[in-house]
């Protein structure tokens, strides 16, 4: 997967800087990294923009000489903290990749139980492992960039990496999913009597779930000016229970409900 110097790409005759990048997984399903290698028709173009030096899911070679580190997963163990701090030292830019890295993701649901030992017993039974409360990557080390989503949207990552290579500023939507959902001319889930967090969740997924008739669960976290309190009131007035509302808001850890 490593390319030689001669492969350096140019744009309008200007050679592009080809950063060395590395991917690392912590407590996660590795689904975000899988997304990265999923889009075969653009994969080679993507790989020619960067030099991947560490990507367990896609290659065997390993190197600590990287500039950009993509971190997938949340942090739940002491050895993870140690490993993450070492990566932070090596990397110039550290990117939180996906909901787990950004907010703790689905994993952080366990933090809601008072007794984490009880949780561990329920999950691992007679095969306990060392795992504590879930933390987002940003709660352990400084993060330079967040790429949202569960999973991440490959097209969005490609655009971000391309902008990095071109030296353009990175722009992610601050507005909510509704904007994309309307552009896709979907029928509003609320018209169908379904709950949806589209009005308060950050866009960028091209209203992935509502396009398939499923309400948004807020995996990308709150939009920049999300009116969460009024949204809760609306959902209540529309007849959704406190439980339904909290289940959605709590699911990925982007919305602070505690």
């Amino acid at each position: 997967m490593r390319a030689k110097k001669a492969d350096t790409k140019t744009y309008l005759g200007i050679p592009l800087y080809r950063p060395k990048v590395a991917f690392f997984e912590f407590s996660s399903c590795e689904g975000c990294q899988l997304q990265m290698v999923n889009n075969e028709n653009t994969l080679l173009d993507f790989l020619s923009l960067v030099e991947v030096v560490n990507f367990r899911e896609a290659m065997t070679e390993r190197s600590d000489a990287y500039e950009i580190a993509f971190i997938e997963g949340s942090i739940t163990r002491d050895d993870e903290v140690k490993r993450l701090k070492a990566i932070r030292k090596n990397a110039k830019v550290l990117v939180a990749l996906g909901s787990c890295a950004c907010f703790g993701g689905v994993n952080q649901l366990k933090n809601r139980f008072k007794n984490l030992e009880w949780v561990k017993k329920q999950v691992y039974g007679k095969h306990p492992i060392d795992t504590g409360a879930v933390r987002a990557v940003g709660d352990v080390v400084p993060v330079n960039l967040m790429i949202y989503g569960c999973p991440i949207k490959k097209e969005e990552v490609e655009k971000i990496v391309l902008d990095l290579a071109l030296g353009k500023s990175i722009v992610v939507p601050q507005y909510p999913v509704c904007m994309e959902c309307k552009a896709n001319e979907n029928i509003c889930l609320f018209d169908l009597g379904e709950p949806c967090l589209g009005p308060i969740t950050r866009a960028g997924c091209n209203s992935w779930c509502p396009n398939s008739g499923a309400g948004c669960w807020g995996c990308r976290g709150p939009a920049e000016d999300a009116n969460v309190e009024y949204m809760k009131k609306i959902m209540k007035e529309k007849g959704f229970s406190e439980k339904t509302i909290l289940e959605r808001l709590d699911c990925f850890g982007g919305f602070k409900t505690k």
């Binding site: 140019t10 309008l12 507005y175 018209d191 009116n227």
Partner: protein, 348 residues
């Protein structure tokens, strides 16, 4: 102006004539809501039976056919350090709109003032607008419509022909020679006195159904006075800043432009995206400064553009009173209530 009447069954024949060489957009049933009421939308139709001419209103306007949500303004091919620019107005074929209500025709007329007849017309809009054939049709006013207050309940121009249901027949007003020539293909006749009576009866029946009113007397001036009114803050507290009102609006035309490079580095594009002044990103400028960082100030400016700024420039409101924004707003922010609260000094 030329008037004709024709038997109702002739409309299907007329559709068949048009569909031979043209793409037709009309109101169809897109689904049902939880109360089993139909949800209508404008879409391309090839079968006359799918068109619902008795539709109430569509959730979204037909805007995507003349102001697409996303549109490439220009594309670039890049070869060996050189580049080639291509501009496409994306209007390769005429489009027939089969059954637009007066509010939506008036919306186009208002957009024309900005995008067609201004100092700098927008060619992407003009190319599409000049390639439209519009068949208007009378509506049944809904409880949320207030087009009457905005002077948009009847369309005087901006269409090719306009049909009104007279029971057994359609009454048609012919405005262009294109429409006249197309209509040569179906059986029709000159309206007689009894058709005139039926037409006037239909009009007065429709008039009785307008229930929602907005007091627009001196509105531009009153908005000026009430710029600091507390009510804006109260509406702002409810606003979700989701942009749905703008997307549901047939006259919201504000946009942003983004330049992107293709991942293979062999192409690039400049893309226009319809935006909304209610979005937090809307008024963000270089350096991360945002001169409308608060929801209430953004919501207020949307009202000022519609009901004050446009009035000052064109002596009419930019709002046609279709009521779509209020119907699609989850927070229930509706134009008649917002205007009433500004006039009355409090939110009911």
């Amino acid at each position: 102006m030329i008037f004709r009447v024709f038997e109702k069954k002739e409309l299907k024949n007329f559709f068949e004539v048009l569909t031979v060489h043209n793409r037709i957009v009309g109101p169809v049933e897109a689904g049902r809501d939880k109360k089993n009421n139909p949800i209508y939308s404008f879409t391309e139709v090839s079968d006359f039976n799918n068109i619902k001419l008795d539709y109430t209103t569509t959730k979204l306007p037909a805007k995507r056919y003349f102001l697409p949500f996303h549109e490439d303004l220009s594309t670039f091919r890049i070869d060996n350090g050189d580049w080639q620019k291509t501009i496409d107005y994306n209007a390769n074929q005429p489009l027939i709109f089969f059954g637009l209500h007066p509010c939506d025709i008036n919306a186009l007329n208002k957009l024309d003032k900005v995008l067609l007849h201004s100092v700098y017309p927008m060619p992407y809009y003009a190319a599409k607008r000049k390639n439209m054939f519009i068949i208007g049709i009378d509506c049944v006013p809904q409880p949320f419509c207030f087009c009457r207050s905005m002077g948009s309940d009847t369309a005087l121009h901006g269409f090719d022909m306009f049909i009104t249901d007279l029971g057994a027949k359609f009454f048609v007003e012919i405005l262009t020679d294109t429409a006249y020539n197309f209509l040569k293909n179906i059986k029709k006749e000159e309206p007689r006195e009894k058709d005139h009576v039926l037409y006037m009866k239909a009009v007065s029946e429709r008039n009785k159904k307008f229930t929602t009113k907005v007091d627009t007397t001196d509105l531009a001036k009153i908005l000026d006075m009430e710029f600091q009114s507390e009510v804006w803050k109260q509406w702002g507290d409810k606003c979700l800043a989701c942009g749905t009102c703008s997307n549901a609006c047939p006259t919201c035309y504000c946009y942003g432009v983004e330049e992107t490079v293709d991942i293979d580095l062999k192409g690039a594009r400049k893309t226009k995206m319809l935006h909304s002044c209610n979005l937090i990103d809307f008024a963000e400028v270089a350096g991360g400064h945002n001169f409308r960082a608060e929801r209430h100030s953004r919501l207020k400016y949307r009202y000022y553009h519609k009901h004050r700024g446009f009035v000052e420039a064109f002596e009419e409101s930019l709002c046609v009173g279709c009521g779509r924004c209020g119907e699609s707003c989850l927070s229930g922010i509706k134009v008649p209530e917002v205007i009433a609260s500004v006039r009355g000094g409090k939110v009911k």
